[in-house]
Amino acid sequence: MHYYPSDRWFDGSNQQWESKVIDDGYFFAVDGKRNTKAEWEASIQAFQRPEALFGGPENPHAQCRFPARFSLIKSLLSEQGITIKFPTIDCPGYQRWKKKVNGQRATLVFASSYLNSPSSMFGHTFLRFDAKDVGQQSELLSYALNFGAVVEKGESSMLYAYKGLAGGYSGYFAIMPYYEKIKEYSKMENRSLWEYPLDLTVTEVDALLAHVWELRNIAFTYFFFDENCSYRLLELLEVAKPGVELTETFRVHAIPIDTVRVLEDNRLLGDSVYRASASDKLLSNAKGLSKDEIMQVKALAEGTLAAESVHSLAILNVAYQYLQFTLVKKQRDPLLAKRRLALLRAINKRSKITPDYSPVKPVRPAAPQVSHRSQMVAVRAGEFESSAFVDVEFRASYHDLLDPIDGYLKGGSINMGRVVLRQYEGRALDLEHIDFIDINSLSPQNALHQPMTWRVNVGVDRVYSDDVDNGLALQVNGGGGVSIEPAVDWLVYGLAEGRAEYLLDGSGMANVGGGVRSGVMHYGAVGTASVELSAMRFLQGVVRVKLTFAQNVVITTNSSVRVNYQYWENQFSEGEFEKRSSVNIGYRYHY
């Protein structure tokens, strides 16, 4: 709970300890963050004082500011058989807050990823506190508890990424109505929400809230990978359920979905509820419409068709959803407000005539926690030209385009820390490939939604050419384009791309090129398959063409077999060319 080295009896040793809280307001002793002995003694003294320690009209007494710490100390003292008399203090502010939150049950909410938002791709978790009879009520009125970094307005996402990794932000807990979170995730960011009721008793939720109250306006150092939203929530749940060990496995990084899995493994989660994003609702509802009807939807949204003239509730509903979707991030416009009201009036009128209409709801996808795990190792055997090789691969995170798709988004992938080592027959083990970062966002366009397709890759790979020695090159490549979904489970994409590389063979050679990449993906019953062709012309005149075919065969959620065929062709300006090919088969295991 960040006060002392452990929540057991503190004997004054363990001077090396330092609290994760960076806020002085959290400690009673001046150097309480590090000086655990002083903090321990100062807190007991503060709880003993008859008068307020903190100023202000609210929560004047230390017992009211730190109710969870007070009860911890009382129970530790009684365990030791030590009697210290504490004054009885009323805490009206704390009581009022608890009454307002009205939390008798707690729910874990997982915000899944959205294709065009790379920082969303790891997901996000927060807690929700529900009234006892929330089923009869409305979850909209519940309160959500979120841990997040406080970001300067206008900060670029690159800076965000850097500071997030380096611990340059302060993290805070914040409480807000759940409907604000729905707006943020479902409507603004098009992310679906998964709600998991937590197996906590009313008493346990109460203990949790007592600690949450202590953490208000208290700053933590925020680290994107380890000490993030999900890690802090696990800590809180450990407070609620003493004896349950949740954070132990997340010393290096805490990917939100992995923290959901830990809770499931500890049997703390009930059956999940799926809350589709606004865009998913729009698209599933629009799928039932014909091309002509979609034209009417657009005409209604553009104002070229009067709402009163349309009789179909389905069309009117999609048109309203579509307008809502396109305007959600825009400033209010009086003309568009009139158009939206006209649509709702028409919906109102028609729904009185045909009361049994209901929109086509999105199909509930595979729940996130049943998706494959986020780390991976693979072994491969193959042939490059006529040399046999064996590969060993490790990937710290997370999901590539061909990995088992359940619980992930089609066309979306994000990988960090992928290393491939290769040994050719009769030769030493050598580095083959590194991805520092590899993101694909093949987001299909349709009549109502035209997101961009893009990809970026930074790492070390091999340039295959007679001109280079070993071909190992530090490189960055990426580009933008368009994807479409010509049929269910098919994805076709095309991108314009650039690449810059620096050869690591000591030659000091650097190269810049531009070109195109296009491919087809199929999400089949056995697994995902892809065919991809790329061609890139470099400043020196060489054109590199690469053709890839790959089929992933899913064995279980966490294991698959993958077959790969690659063909490279280098075309030189003199009309000469060289070609190479490679085929391999490998086993991949996610853990």
Binding site: K100, S138, L141, Y172, A174, L327, A337, L344
Partner: protein, 160 residues
Amino acid sequence: MKRVILSAVLMSLSMTASAVAPGGPDCGWGNMVFEGQGGMGSHFVAMTTNGTSGNKTFGMTSGTNGCSTSGKLTYGGDAIVNLSGVLDEFIADSARGEGEALTAVAVSMGIAPDDRAIFADAVHDNFDAIFAHADVTAEDVMASLVEVMKSNQVLAKYVS
């Protein structure tokens, strides 16, 4: 650079007692329908990053930060949902006569589970009266809603 913590307009819990006017300043009762998020200004900041919208206060007085629960727009003086926070959802649900926001408003007005269908029907039937024009504010909507409820045999008891 201005911090994206919304705390400038969000009062902490301690302010509950100090509110005078319905809603209070920056509460959003003046927000019009179809405000979207773009119009929320300091109330809401669009972030694409993970959990970084930085409301670091624990402000929660009436459902939306900064709003008081005292004044003529509350019923029972307790935990009424701030309509402005769900206004866009409420108007859409009202048009169809069903939905989560409609239920949320019913709950926050203390309407018993058995009477909620009647409330939904009343709102559905009187859509044009409650949402008289495209520039109605949350306050207007609440006032019209009260009128509709007053003239309903079952619902009148909740607003008297």
